[in-house]
């Protein structure tokens, strides 16, 4: 029967078949979750507690709450509820990752290529993740703009994934990747870490001049505006503090370099370090400058600048008073961020709330959306993840995930095949042959599922053959 539907090549038919269609009509939900263990993250853990959601927001938290008429009631006895997980570094749900054609590409943004059909979005929801910071790749010292999204899987309009009101952000990248792509690959700067500093400072100075010229024209001090340049427009906004700079970084020296540049241009309040394998080595310096850091929990060794690593990185940063988060950078890890966070109790003895903060309130702060998400508080968005057990236990199984009060994942009722689009003429359900390895950075030629990795979009075959 499925094949008959397929023969019509009708996406809509399939949508109905998969039972996703009901979600389309509604994107803010009402629900009463009763009798759960509630991990608020910011106000401790509440036993036998109810959460009432109205119009996509958390209306009240307490005991003995009544469901208004028509509001669905979910008995969460023996279940645990935590804030929807926030991944501050992901590349799922976008058609392109890298515009690897020049060292500065502030004029592009992944928000223009959102792909609501990527099943990775659903799989992330099935791991309790509700918000993701979709990032441009790491090919360029100054890459493209990123996009913070809510995982509203089932909605087919890419625009509806954008996190309303989230600050804009842009990707920077230090170290091996931009050096390999541009210096080794194309024989242009940067081929060294010195070159990276120059490319970034140079772009900032040019953008400053551009903004000054724009300003001078506005004040009547110039007869004409500067020739319009989208790249300079975006960088001028960066210098105004309108975009948060999220910089891919591995080695401590690179981080210190960029921290100095950022300080020189007065951007300390709109700067986040990403990956930051060696951040723990300069935790006091990072803390003194007040820079938040988002790190891998335990990935290491996949390249030389990731070799001097410690899985204790996140814990050391937290103990030094830094707003630290952990991220996935992977279509696999984004499905079990709660498990990644739990390892901070093996590698550094974080408390439950500190461990959960790594994937909730701390990334929310880093993305500038902590007034909306990242904890279970009245008035916040009803982005909630429901687990069978304490989410920091290896035995916890995500049961339901709500985004704006809409249940987007339900382990008990969701069908197996959650794709939203099939191509009847294409290859049927390609199976990947290799091992489902997770670090996309490590082995570019191994099969590890699609839609992953900071170097995606850089043609590695072509690239390596011309080396």
């Amino acid at each position: 029967m499925l094949s008959r539907f397929l023969s019509f090549g009708c996406t809509l038919t399939l949508l109905l078949l998969l039972g996703v269609a009901p979600l389309l009509a509604q994107d803010r939900g009402d629900v009463l979750i009763q009798n759960a263990t509630v991990h608020t993250v910011t106000n401790g853990t509440l036993e036998s507690t109810d959460i009432l959601v109205r119009d996509g927001r958390i209306a009240s938290i307490g005991q003995g709450l009544r469901a208004p008429s028509g509001v669905q009631v979910i008995d969460a006895t023996d279940l645990h509820v935590m804030p929807g997980i926030i991944d501050s570094h992901s590349h799922i749900g976008i058609s392109n990752v890298n515009e690897a054609t020049r060292p500065v590409t502030a004029d592009v943004g992944v928000g223009d290529v959102l792909d609501p059909y990527d099943v990775s979005i659903y799989r992330a929801l099935a791991g309790g993740t509700t918000t993701a910071h979709l990032m441009h790749g790491s090919a360029n010292p100054i890459g493209g703009r990123n996009q913070t999204v809510k995982l509203r899987y089932g909605d087919l309009n890419p625009a509806n994934y954008r996190f309303e009101g989230a600050p804009r952000s842009i990707k920077f990248a230090l170290g091996e990747n931009p050096m390999r792509v541009h210096g080794e690959g194309q024989g242009i700067k940067p081929r060294t870490r010195m070159g990276i500093e120059f490319v970034i400072r140079d772009a900032f100075r040019r953008a400053q001049a551009y903004a000054e010229a724009r300003e001078a024209f506005a004040n009547g001090e110039r007869p004409a505006p500067p020739a319009y340049n989208e790249r300079m427009e975006v960088l001028a906004d960066v210098l105004e503090g309108d975009l948060i700079v999220h910089s891919h970084s591995y080695r401590a020296d690179g981080m210190l370099m960029l921290m100095q540049v950022i300080d020189d241009f007065g951007l300390n309040d709109t700067f986040v370090l990403q990956h930051s394998i060696e951040a723990f080595k300069i935790a006091p310096e990072i803390a003194a400058q007040g820079i938040p850091v988002s790190v891998f929990m335990d990935w290491w060794g996949f390249k030389f600048e990731a070799y001097n690593a410690a899985a204790h990185n996140a814990a050391i940063l937290i103990r030094n008073g830094i707003t630290a988060s952990i991220h996935s950078d992977s279509g696999d890890l984004i499905r079990h961020m709660y498990h990644q966070a739990s390892k901070s109790q093996r590698y550094g003895d974080l408390t439950d709330d500190e461990a959960l903060a790594l994937i909730t309130i701390n990334p929310a702060i880093q993305l500038g959306i902590d007034d909306r998400v990242g904890s279970i508080e009245e008035g916040k968005d009803a982005d909630l993840a429901v687990f069978s057990a304490h989410p920091l236990s290896v035995y916890a199984v995500p049961q339901m995930t709500f985004v704006d009060g809409v249940k987007r994942f339900d382990r008990a009722t969701d069908p197996d095949d959650m794709r939203l689009q099939l191509n009847p003429d294409g290859n049927v359900a390609p199976a990947y042959a290799g091992e489902a390895h997770s670090h996309s950075h490590a082995h570019p030629f191994d099969a590890r599922g699609h839609g992953e990795g900071c170097m995606q979009g850089v043609n590695l075959f072509e690239f390596l053959s011309t080396k």
């Binding site: 498990h339 109790q345 199976a431 489902a436 950075h441 099969a447 590890r448």
Partner: protein, 440 residues
């Protein structure tokens, strides 16, 4: 002299002399007291004592005398487990992922049975201490290139030479079964091309096997009657295939896609191979009954992975081991990892969360692989006479919050230190630094 004995004697020369009394690897004797002994083979003993002497478990139970001079480790509130075994890794044969000159698992060429992974195992790899301190004492380290990649080996994660690390001469010929899957998102071949290439690869494999069989015949004839039968011409690949076609060396077949698993099982039956294991087996759940029927054990994993198809239910990789076990397949677990072999216990934990009985998952990282590799008399459980490869933990080792506190490999007490724990110690409260730190 058995290989093992020679290893023990060599090790004894290295560590056992009085001059070496201050060596960092102590060989006891040890008495672990007041512990919960999770034997795996014979249930759990509360408030038990376990004795380690000369590298072996010499006694365990509730009424055990502590030998004179033994170092006593009070394990009050803690549990002792047999060392975990990861049935598929690249430990020792890769150091830095992106630097090809540090990678020794993927040789040029498609037919390399003459290559031996032990040749390339680096005993001082920084990865080894970082991973073993999770309670992993023993791993399969394996090559992966071409069609026949070379021999994989079962190694203890302690030793100064690959030979000291090798457990009981366990070596397996590693083969990549021809695949009809895609290599990744960048694999743009058509379905027909993939099918054709896979068929060609199977034909090639059959040719290799037939030639190896012929080579073995010629070799056997020569051995039996050197006067009338000349020795086969020297062909290193064929020479290396001799123990394989004669059934003296087990074969580890790496295969993941269901159609390929089906094909591999038929191929195994056609060849009459009985010493054979499947490795990877990502889509084993689709053909679990067939695998069970064939009676071929599997080294399944990684568990924590995405499904192999976008159409699959999101948790298929998590469930795979449980579904295989349920169908009656003998399942050991593997991470397929190098830098993060330490996630083996969490892979086992996920298998439990998604349906595998706890005892079976624990077995799948201890006694089951020991049985599959034919070393159940040496490893895999806490039993008198076995190698003292075990660890002490303050809780369930599959839970991330649990701390592994002591580790023994082949009787040596292994320091719970690694480059990463050293960095943690140095940088948690770095000096200089405190003056710069924000106020708590």
């Amino acid at each position: 002299m058995s290989f093992l004995l020679s290893v023990l004697l060599t090790a004894g020369l290295l560590f056992g002399t009085p001059a070496d009394a201050s060596a960092s690897y102590d060989r006891g004797p040890f008495a672990i007291t007041n512990a919960e002994l999770v034997t795996v083979a014979n249930g759990t003993i509360s408030n038990g004592t376990l004795i380690i002497e000369n590298g072996r478990i010499t006694a365990l139970g509730t009424d055990v005398a502590i030998p004179e001079g033994a170092t006593v480790i009070d394990a009050e509130g803690k549990s002792v487990y047999p060392g975990m075994i990861d049935s598929g890794t690249r430990l020792g044969v890769t150091e830095v992922g992106s630097i090809s000159l540090t990678q020794d698992y993927n040789e040029v060429g498609t037919l390399n049975p003459q290559l031996n992974i032990l040749t390339a195992v680096h005993p001082n790899s920084r990865l080894i201490p970082i991973n073993r301190t999770a309670g992993i004492t023993t791993v399969i380290t394996e090559p992966s290139g071409g069609r026949i990649s070379g021999t994989a080996a079962l190694i203890n994660l302690h030793g100064y030479t690959p030979e000291q690390m090798l457990v009981d001469d366990v070596q397996l010929m590693t083969m990549n079964y021809p695949s009809t899957g895609r290599r990744g998102w960048w694999d743009r071949r058509s379905d027909d091309e993939i099918e054709r290439e896979a068929q060609e690869a199977i034909d090639e494999l059959n040719t290799i096997w037939e030639r190896a069989a012929q080579y073995a015949q010629i070799d056997s004839a020569h051995t039996a009657d050197p006067a009338t039968h000349t020795a086969p011409a020297y062909v290193p690949e064929m020479e290396a295939m001799l123990p394989v076609v004669r059934g003296e060396m087990p074969v580890m077949i790496r295969v993941n896609r269901s159609a390929d698993i089906r094909s591999a099982l038929e191929w195994i039956a056609d060849r009459g191979l009985d010493q054979v294991v499947l490795s990877g087996v990502a889509e084993g759940w689709r053909v679990a009954d067939l695998i069970a029927e064939a009676g071929v054990p599997v080294l399944a994993g990684p568990v924590i992975a995405t499904p192999s198809r976008s159409s699959d239910r999101y948790d298929r990789a998590y469930e795979n081991a449980a579904l295989l076990h349920e169908a009656g397949v003998t399942v050991a677990l593997r991470t397929g990892e190098d830098a993060n072999v330490r996630n083996l216990p969490f892979n086992a934990g996920f298998a439990v969360a998604y349906g595998m009985p706890y005892a079976e998952a624990l077995r799948a990282v201890t006694l089951t692989p020991a049985e599959i590799f034919g070393v159940a008399d040496e490893l895999g459980s806490l039993e008198v006479g076995k190698q003292a490869s075990l660890f002490i933990a303050d809780g369930d080792p599959f839970e991330p919050a649990t701390a592994v506190t002591h580790l023994f490999i082949d009787g040596y007490q292994i320091p719970m230190e690694s480059e990463q724990s050293r960095l943690y110690e140095e940088f948690l409260d770095r000096d200089p630094g405190s003056a710069l730190q924000v106020q708590e």
